[in-house]
């Protein structure tokens, strides 16, 4: 059942359309990964859904409430972890979290217990009495994430939770986000880290220039890329245009992604038949191969595949599907 449903949700900043007639449906109890390059409109979407900023046009139903007509009711259901930590500089982590828990209606006992527990989980217990302005970027981010983990809202908007956070911290936070989902929260995870979206999300949507390009489970999206196989070729010299054209000429080759001028990802079918031919091609063109590897598509490929298209093409695709 959909817990969030947007209807032509649009936000314009002067001439710029940050979110463009977005139609999006998020199911109760899922982790929905909202992916997109910088400036795609992820944060703007999250801010509108959480009633922080008003849409220019369109609306959304969050819980059972319209964000335009009943914003006060919507706010009782939601919590946000902001992309940029929103903390008063003169405050301390403990004060910030204690006050947040109080405003969100936790009882005194529950509050004390959870603030301590979560601060320990994000490794901030020892820093709880430091001034915010004396914390490192990643530490501030941990405090920001802690807010939502303490609050446990029915609907949690989490905007890039692990940017600036170290690898160990990342895994901890991912686990805590999963726990939050398992305890019954619906999670909207805005991120431009594909790996994060892939490991966490039940479904992902890829946004680009304010529009939703595709929306499905990570697996379906990966399978949807034609050419179920990928061959990664590392060359010793830069690839020539001639070779690229010849590669694209194979009927089994679906797409050639030039990661770097000497690093190619070739999406293709019937890998066992084509690989020898490809190797011959490189040999004939005197382009020595330093390594060759076969792999499966990742969300990266899905991302490049879809955002590499123009909006018009993507729209036509989603219509013809």
């Amino acid at each position: 059942m959909a817990i969030i449903q947007t209807i032509d949700l649009t936000k314009r900043f002067k001439d710029l359309v940050a979110v463009d007639k977005l139609s999006l449906s998020i199911d109760e109890g899922e982790i929905f990964g909202l992916l997109g390059p910088n400036g795609a409109g992820k944060t703007t979407t999250v801010l509108m859904l959480s009633t922080v900023i008003k849409p220019t046009k369109g609306t959304a139903i969050v819980g059972d409430y319209d964000i335009r007509k009943n914003p006060d009711d919507v706010r009782k259901l939601i919590g946000i972890c902001f992309q940029e930590p929103k903390l008063m500089w003169v405050s301390t982590p403990w004060d910030v979290l204690n006050w947040h828990a109080k405003v969100c209606g936790l009882s005194t006992r529950e509050r004390k217990r959870r603030v301590k527990q979560v601060l320990e989980h994000v490794n901030m217990w020892d820093h709880r009495r430091k001034r915010i302005h004396g914390l490192s970027g990643g530490m501030k981010k941990r405090v920001e994430v802690a807010k939502i983990l303490i609050q446990r809202p029915k609907i949690a908007f989490i905007d890039e939770p692990t940017s600036q956070i170290d690898v160990v911290g990342k895994h901890k936070i991912w686990n805590m986000i999963r726990e939050l989902r398992d305890e019954g929260s619906t999670i909207i995870l805005a991120t431009n880290e594909l790996f994060e979206a892939d490991v966490l999300s039940d479904r992902v949507g890829i946004m680009h220039k304010g529009k939703m390009l595709v929306c499905d489970t990570p697996k379906t999206l990966k399978d949807s890329i034609l050419g179920g196989d990928i061959v990664e070729v590392q060359l010793e010299k830069e690839v020539t245009k001639n070779v690229l054209d010849e590669l694209k000429g194979f009927k089994e080759v679906v797409e050639v992604v030039v990661v770097k001028s000497d690093d190619l990802r070739i999406h293709l079918n019937k890998v066992e038949k084509v690989v020898p031919q490809i190797m011959n091609l490189f040999l004939n063109e005197r382009l020595p191969i330093s390594s060759i590897r076969m792999s499966e598509p990742s969300l990266d490929d899905v991302f490049v595949h879809y955002t590499g298209l123009t909006i018009e093409e993507a729209e036509q695709k989603s219509k013809s599907r």
Partner: protein, 260 residues
């Protein structure tokens, strides 16, 4: 309702983080009082001296109101900073209605002003004498209206003028006009006389008469010194001032802030 209390708690915590700064400011206010009282006393013309007795007791209520003004205005500076750093997005995302948010911040600003003013008011009482209990309630009620009104002015300004530079300029302008076009430093009767003699432009005289800072200071003087005489216009002006700016700030907070 609970939400309003939480907001007041929030703003009081922030206020106390500046406790040394505040202590410094209060000391400066008191030092002003002493220095100006001693120096200005020597500069008074005989007629004025007769009217106000000592500049010290005349100025003490003025300093009280100045302290109230400066401290109640601080909430605007904080909200302006929040809007500039987009920390207000956090406030707007909390399970609080916009009206509660606006009223909470307004009241917090006003109450912080009242708290800051208390030592100044006590000093005034110690110097001039204590009012009767009913008078004390009227004084506190009137000063509370003044404080929330000022808090309202500061919030409305802070939300509408986001750029820090422009906000500071606007604040300076408001301070300047309200301080000097008032009976804080000189009796209203003197300003009125200067107006009749054509020395002071009439609009400035009217401004000084309606100025809530004049009304606040003169109300204290009326009860403690008997001069100027108490009039209900003082209360009425404060009620109108407070009502206008509480409404302005509420509208600003409810309507404008979501567009930032």
């Amino acid at each position: 309702m609970k939400a309003i209390l939480h907001l007041i708690e929030h703003d009081f915590r922030n206020f106390f983080r500046y406790k040394w700064w505040l202590a410094g400011l209060i000391s400066m206010n008191l030092a002003d009082l002493l220095i100006m009282a001693v120096v200005y006393n020597q500069m008074l013309s005989p007629e004025i001296a007769e009217q106000i007795k000592s500049y010290f007791s005349f100025f003490a209520p003025g300093v009280t109101v100045v302290g109230l003004f400066a401290s109640a205005f601080m909430i605007g500076r904080e909200i302006n900073m929040e809007v500039r750093r987009q920390i207000h997005h956090y406030m707007l995302s909390l399970p609080i209605t916009r009206l509660e948010l606006a009223l909470g911040r307004l009241l917090a600003g006003g109450l912080r002003g009242m708290m800051y003013m208390t030592p100044l008011l006590l000093t005034t009482f110690l110097i001039i004498g204590f009012p009767s209990l009913p008078q004390l309630f009227i004084i506190l009620g009137a000063l509370f209206l003044l404080a929330t009104g000022i808090s309202g002015v500061s919030i409305a300004t802070a939300v509408s003028i986001t750029s820090f530079e422009k906000f500071i300029t606007a604040r300076g302008l408001i301070y300047y006009v309200l301080f000097f076009c008032s009976s804080i430093f000189y009796p209203l009767s003197l300003i009125q006389t200067l107006g009749q003699e054509g020395i002071m432009p009439q609009p400035l005289v009217v401004l000084a008469e309606l100025n809530p800072l004049s009304n606040g200071a003169d109300l204290i003087r009326a009860f403690l010194l008997g001069n100027p005489a108490f009039t209900f216009d003082m209360i009425r002006n404060l009620v109108v001032f407070s009502a206008i700016f509480v409404t302005a700030a509420t509208i600003a907070y409810m309507k404008i802030i979501e567009r930032k």
